[in-house]
């Protein structure tokens, strides 16, 4: 089921994200998905060697989720494949009935666990979206005809609404929309007022936006993200909230409360929510419940 169809129906689209393991055993991942996500979210993103850390492939994991009755979103980065491999994988996804793509540039290879790898970046998020659109019209990047019925996808992209250079991000968002992006998932939001301001500007593009949530696990994680993760800033008051009752935070209750609160505050300004649980998939049901969904 294409995400765009859900947005068109006026659904508040709820998605979550899973990261494939560093190995090929996905029993644990499938268990988490069955237990906590199935029936609760519209679709599940599968990350593509997230943070440049080598893992099981996104496409293979998407197929496993599809076979399990879930609706996968195939994340594609431009870091590891040139345009030939990207196009080939897009066709492979179509073969398996995967019709949701999320097109990203990807983190640089030097940030991951194989920093010696060659960074590819033959395409980037914008030209990848352009490519998918081109393939949907029946030709490859170079203009050669595809055999048979062309594939059709929901083409997603990402944006950082709380970036310290939000104007530069908006310019990129516009380029993505022009290139074919039909929905956006955002980087983690901890400052609803910044998100709402961003949405006031972003709504001119006329594409649905899903609020990004990363469950804050503890104060250390929040501080780490502030120092190292682009586009994220956790306010001091929230760090204090995570520090106030250590047991409650450890049990995940504080993180769930903060996440649900952000969703509630932003819900009227966006068209969905995307929860990046980072291993805390078990908290997703509580967040959705507390947020009133």
């Amino acid at each position: 089921m294409r995400l765009t169809d859900l947005f068109q129906r006026g659904e508040f689209v709820v998605t979550a994200e899973v990261g494939p393991p560093k190995g090929y055993h996905i029993d644990h991942l499938l268990h988490e998905v069955d237990e906590y996500l199935k029936g609760r979210v519209h679709a599940v993103n599968v990350t593509d060697n997230q943070s440049s850390v080598m893992r099981l492939g996104s496409l293979a994991t998407c197929i496993a989720l599809k076979n399990r009755g879930l609706n996968p979103i195939f994340q594609m980065t431009c870091r590891d494949r040139n345009r030939i491999a990207l196009q080939s994988d897009i066709l492979s996804a179509a073969l398996f009935g995967i019709d949701n793509l999320l097109c990203l540039t990807g983190d640089h290879t030097t940030l991951g666990d194989n920093p010696q790898a060659k960074p590819v970046f033959d395409l980037d998020s914008v030209s990848l979206l352009h490519l998918v659109k081109k393939m949907e019209s029946g030709e490859d990047m170079a203009g050669n005809a595809l055999d048979g019925e062309p594939p059709k996808f929901s083409k997603g992209a990402v944006v950082s609404p709380c970036s310290d250079s939000v104007d530069v991000q908006l310019a990129k968002m516009e380029a993505k929309v022009k290139a074919g992006a039909e929905y956006f998932q955002t980087q983690a939001v901890y400052e609803p007022e910044k998100f709402i301001k961003f949405m006031e500007k972003a709504k001119q593009f006329g594409v649905p936006v899903q609020l990004g949530i990363v469950i804050p696990k503890n104060a250390g994680m929040a501080k780490y993200m502030n120092a190292n993760v682009a586009g994220i800033s956790v306010p001091d008051s929230m760090i204090a909230e995570l520090q106030a009752d250590k047991e409650k935070t450890k049990a995940g209750i504080t993180g769930v409360e903060i996440s649900a609160r952000i969703i509630k505050e932003c819900k009227a300004y966006c068209q969905g929510v995307h929860i990046m649980a980072l291993g805390w998939e078990s908290k997703v049901p509580d967040i959705l419940k507390l947020a009133g969904m």
Partner: protein, 208 residues
Amino acid sequence: MLITQLKSKEAIEALVKGKVVIINCHGCKEVYFPEHEAEELQKELAANGNVTTVVTTDYICNPDHQCLQLKKHMDKIADADTVLVFSCGVGVQTVASFLEDKKVFAGCDTLPLPGFQGVTPLEFDCGRCGECYLNYTGGICPITACSKSLVNGQCGGSKNGKCEVDKDMDCGWERIYRKLEKLNKLDTLKYPAKVRNYNHPDMVSEDN
């Protein structure tokens, strides 16, 4: 320009077997060569092994010049088991091609470095992409100023205006955006998706 760095002492010692001829190229305006370090290392090699001669020249990559320079050392070279060349990769290849029956080894690793020795500053680099983007980007090169050489705008990895790869490096696309903003030319960035063309038949690829 290029910069040559000595390989590790262990790596070089492992290459040196039997009688050794060393060839140093003190270069050209394109290559920076670590003369002092090379000299120190070669002194140690000579003390520990059988270095029969050291030839120091320039422009070793020019075949005619090389031929002339090596001519007077050909007896030593003919007698040597190994020829160890301290030069950029071009120099080593020229020597290996000229001395086709000899074991010719490189004593250096060669890396690219922006600018030209003593001529242009290091902070401006041309990626020699063959499809100049500078007219779109306020005169700041996205190929060399962006770690990912992105041509369609900033990625999500910029934090406080710095690049995700190196916190001391300004984000190239932040610079481009601010420059165009200052010039009141932000509309320049509203171009359709750009796709790099790596197929330049008349250009020998220098990227890997």
